[in-house]
Assembly symmetry: C2
Homo-oligomer: 190 residues x 2
């Protein structure tokens, strides 16, 4: 049995990663979603192993020390991270797993898991801008330079990814991500 694929969905803040991921859940029920570990206390209705793996700070620090997290970050005084075991066990079962994560975290996952499929969700305007910048060059150099300087941070990170998916419409973005997953399963690997 072939191993599953690790799909990493990332992109700039506010691009709509969460919304796209929720829509994908509906469209692709066979896809497993990575569950994060956190030191934050559970909120009403949150279940251990479903919403999060809830950990004490000591447990979390020990996971870091034993390389049991693919990435981790601190946010508002709490730790959040991606447990390696859950990802690897899912892949071993031949199931695909998707990880929704911000850009820096995704690049850390790539260091530990270069065989993952890294998808960068972009706002439509960034894509349009990129097309114009790299395209036919009918604008003045000054205009291009200014736009480049605004977009450059994100474009610099995009190059570390395998795919760029424009989030112009949620249905279209989902279809593109589904297509990437299907295509990756057809890929001839040497």
């Amino acid at each position: 049995m072939a191993k599953g694929l690790l799909i990493v969905l990332s992109g700039p803040s506010g691009v709509g990663k969460g919304t796209v991921c929720s829509a994908l859940r509906q469209k692709m029920p066979g896809l497993t979603y990575s569950v994060s570990a956190t030191t934050r206390l559970p909120r009403q209705g949150e279940e251990h192993g479903v919403n999060y793996f809830f950990k004490s700070k000591d447990q979390f620090l020990s996971m870091i020390e034993n390389d049991q997290l693919l990435e981790h970050a601190e946010y508002v005084g709490n730790y959040y991270g991606t447990p390696r075991d859950f990802v690897e066990e899912t892949l071993e079962k031949g199931q695909d797993i998707i990880l929704e994560i911000e850009v820096q975290g995704a690049l850390k996952v790539k260091e530990k898991f270069p065989e993952g499929i890294f998808i960068f969700l972009t706002p439509p305007s960034l894509e349009e801008l990129k097309d114009r910048i790299t395209g036919r060059g009918t604008e003045t150099q000054a205009t291009i330079d200014h736009r480049m300087s605004v977009a450059v941070d994100e474009i610099n990170l995009l190059k570390h990814y395998d795919y760029a998916v424009v989030n112009d419409e949620i249905d279209l973005a989902c279809k593109r991500i589904e297509s990437i997953i299907i295509a990756e399963h057809c890929k001839v690997r040497s």
Copy 2:
């Protein structure tokens, strides 16, 4: 405007390339189909530039000499080939073009057009066999060796391709090919 993609659909004789291509035409009307050049005489109802580009033998030999064909072959006394101009003009317009071709021809196209997307259509049994051969290894070595020797010619060619698509059901095969095309358009190219 981004250039279109050259999609090369190939696979062993009898695998159903023509049937899958016809189904794709229905599903993806925006896809252009490569028109072959031939020295064969037009049959009733066949149109120049639609079914084939009809050429005299001298014209065809001159196209070979001037590197105007991505590949060519002789079959039952007539020449057949893929005109480079038609492919390149379509790509320049930003349109994808699909070329349905036998395995040796596809590999010749790859020499001249390595940036093409090479898809190998496989019969389901080959895929199953490959999975078993490369999989968990519960069969005896003798059985594996025998099966390998039957499949080895095709598997040896498969490795030159980017994608393997199983033609188990036409609709599924079409969906996989459509997914590959969508995914390739999302690919981050360095």
